[in-house]
């Protein structure tokens, strides 16, 4: 891939309008779904009990549902991964027997079929869920603040705003997809979202780094052109890295087991969107904020930077 050749250069900045429309549509859809549907929050956030059990043969979900309903449990019962495994969710309820919910449910299942084995019980008190939601939000904001400071120091304030716009874009759409698909949003998904923040940023910074370099180097070229050159120069890197990361995530998705499934899915979605945003969104927002080469020039001397002009045009 010889990205330096102008003939092969793709005019990314020229595609600003369609990119803005696409991103805006995706973001509006995400916000809309979040407002209307919300997220299918897992037991980590809502509190309540999750019980995973394994049977020797295909389990009769209806029968389990019925016997739990008879015992006055407000339970949702479904197969988990295979027909032999069953996941039971019980909404948080009040009273002092909360800690015993898991034991009681398992006792009922055992009385129906002695061969059932307990694979997992998670019992989360409602106040833990609330705290986690707050902590997760705080973590996200803190990470954003730290990044904002670092990018401002290393680049310029408008660059950090551009990076944050790309980040919010990626996170919002990923969360939006979870809202639309109704896939359960649990603690591992939160970890994935935070990893996406790191990854999306990584991608954006690589492009910005090139933009900064080219701003200083290519003196006769305007900002838009210079950004376009930068995106093209880093394009093969952006794609190769996303590809290797998606390769391992696909491995994780198919072989990593059920618990990690959601994590891998969230990451794959996030990386696809992150790759798109570092090409189209981050740099576009730089242009829209009116970034100029002067903003990045060191205060005094600038003579040293005048080396190897490209043979473009």
């Amino acid at each position: 891939m010889k990205t330096e050749n102008t003939e092969k250069m793709i005019n990314f900045t020229g595609m600003q309008k369609p990119a803005i429309i696409l991103s805006a549509l995706l973001m509006i859809a995400s916000i809309g779904s979040l407002i209307i549907n919300g997220l299918n929050l897992g037991v980590d956030f809502t509190g309540g009990t999750v019980i995973e059990v394994g049977y020797n043969e295909a389990a009769d979900v209806d029968k389990i549902r019925k016997s739990l309903a008879e015992a006055n449990f407000d339970a949702s019962v479904q197969h988990f991964g295979t027909a032999k495994d069953v996941l039971i969710r019980i909404a948080p309820h009040e009273g002092d027997d909360r800690a015993k919910t898991g034991d009681n449910v398992f006792a009922i299942l055992k009385s129906n079929d002695a061969n059932v084995i307990l694979r997992r019980v998670e019992n989360v008190g409602p106040q833990i869920g609330d705290e986690l939601r707050d902590d997760g939000g705080t973590a996200m904001l803190l990470a954003l603040a730290g990044i904002l400071i670092y990018v401002t120091l290393r680049f310029e304030f408008r660059f950090s705003v551009g990076a944050i716009i790309a980040l919010v874009h990626d996170v919002l759409i990923t969360v939006g997809i979870f809202s639309i698909t109704r896939i359960e949003f649990d603690l591992t998904i939160l970890a994935a979202i935070l990893a996406i923040i790191g990854y999306s940023l990584n991608d954006t910074i690589v492009v910005f780094d090139r933009v900064r370099e080219n701003f200083l180097k290519l003196r006769k070229v305007d900002a838009e052109e210079s950004i376009n050159i930068s995106i093209n120069q880093t394009l093969s890197r952006t794609i190769v890295t996303s590809l290797t990361t998606i390769l391992v995530l696909v491995a994780l998705f198919y072989f990593g087991g059920k618990i990690i499934h959601g994590f891998a899915f969230a990451m794959i979605v996030g990386i696809v969107i992150g790759t798109y945003s570092s090409i189209y969104v981050a740099s576009t927002s730089l242009l829209m904020m009116g970034v100029t080469r002067e903003a990045l020039l060191p205060p005094a001397k600038e003579a040293d930077d005048q080396e190897e002009l490209p043979e473009s045009h």
Binding site: R119, N202, S236, G256
Partner: protein, 621 residues
Amino acid sequence: MNRYPLWKYILLIVITVAGLILALPNLYPAQPAVQVSSSSSDFAVDNNTLESIKTALTKKGITVKDTEMLEDNKILIRFNSPDTQLNAAETIKESLGNNYITALNLAPATPKWLRGLNPMNLGLDLRGGVHFLMEVDMKSAIDKSLTRHTEEFRTFLREKKINYLGVKRVADDLIIQFKSTELRDQARQEIKSQYRNEIDFTDEETAKGAALKATLTETNIKNTKRFALQQNITTLRKRVNELGVAEPVIQQQGLERIVVQLPGVQDPTVAKEILGTTATLEFRLVDEGNDAYSAQASGRIPPGDQLFMERNGNPILLKSRVMLTGDYITDASSGFDQRDQQPSVTIVLDGKGAKLFAKATGANVQKLMGVVFIEHKTVVTKQEDGSFKKDTKVSREVINVARIQEQLSKRFQITGLDSPQESYNLALLLRAGALAAPVYIVEERTIGPSLGADNISAGFKSVIIGFVLVLIFMAVYYRVFGLVANLALTLNLVLIVAVLSMLQATLTLPGIAGIVLTVGMAVDANVLIYERIKEELSNGVTPQAAIQAGYDKAFSTIADANITTLIAAIVLFGMGTGPIKGFAITLAIGIASSMFTAIMGTRAVINLIYGGQKRVKKLHI
């Protein structure tokens, strides 16, 4: 022209070798084992115990892999599979009885020459076990402190011969009532110096005369809470040891919570019962002069008395003054009463308790004494405004009433328990000491051993597959340079495992996800460098200069990109709990080690391949 100084090669080799050695113990998976220890100092663990265990196991046809006497009076017996381990644990428990503790364990299997180096710890999600998050009910810790002070004030004023009308609690303050301002002033003079920094005393004028309001100071409250948490951790640790769990984790989390992790425990019910209970005993005299039934019916309790219920539902009046509390108990063992074969608990008191009890019982021979069994239970309910209300229910039951036949002191026996299991649990709880404040479980996670095994194999498989996919891709796409990057990637994986083993960090499933993700992202640094080299080459720069420029120019980009990701990892680590922390640790270690392997490691190898040649015609990239 692309040469590395010798010291960089030496550094690289040293780190590689160190990494390999540190990572090596992970190749020897831990073996299923059973650990046997004694629950009381009366029963020794020695070669005889070992022999009897062996006989019992042979009888059942269970093959033992290897046995070992550990230093601290413990026996470790290794088995070939987790199934035999389970059977063996049952058999050993049956043959040794209640006085020994049998714990399921995963024993390290590292060869002798590697001893001292440890493999990574496996998290509960990978090996199975129970995780509890417990909250300490701090309100009752404060209540307890106020009750203690009430008693102390009374004793103090009596000793100083200052007349007072009473001490009572109003909200979180204690009000000491006096007849006159003079008495109050005198009392304040005396009492203030006793409780400097602990309690603030303020004057109050009341209808009955003058009063002193005693308020716990902020520092005092803080200390009380800290003490309650520490004390509870100590007690929980003792209880867990009694339960017989190998390698438990008991840690403070925040200011009011304790994490308890019990690897290998498969039935959370028993663990929950033992950990969460604040059962203790109190000994009080029975009021034989008044009728409990009429007191219950009229609701008029004679002064100085309290109404209790016996196990059979009958009311009973006991004196308010407590003869002895469970705090003085140093040892307790369960058994059966010799006369009527009822389940019993033999109690041993410490010196101070023995003296107190001897005095109290000596003065009351031939009188009836009641044993009160006290249990706390905390119920949390969510209020309509979203806040949480904690109610501590205290159940007090009189389990036994007996006439004091003689002066009791250091060692005595109580009966009146429903079952041998109850006496066993009570003895255990008394031995381990009371909790300073009730705890309740706010979060519980149980992972069955089968799921743990599934998780570990799935995690392992996905790491290998993802890793191999990336290796193939890199080799095809970047050829010689790709193979060099693959070397770096392999070293990176070894280093992550080495650092995790060195830190004795716990590997969890999210941690494995972190490793997998790092594998994918670690090649990024190499991709950046190689793309840069390609660019330089297409600009017509000579191969040697292109290598030089590629590494130099990519460096600041790599640093910027990795530092920002590191910021996210650090925030994750700081804010997150359990699983998220594990993910953040592996991510951070992966970023650091990938910077090293991808920049320095690959450069060293590239220099070895191309650096020496005067004229390189073509780079295989």
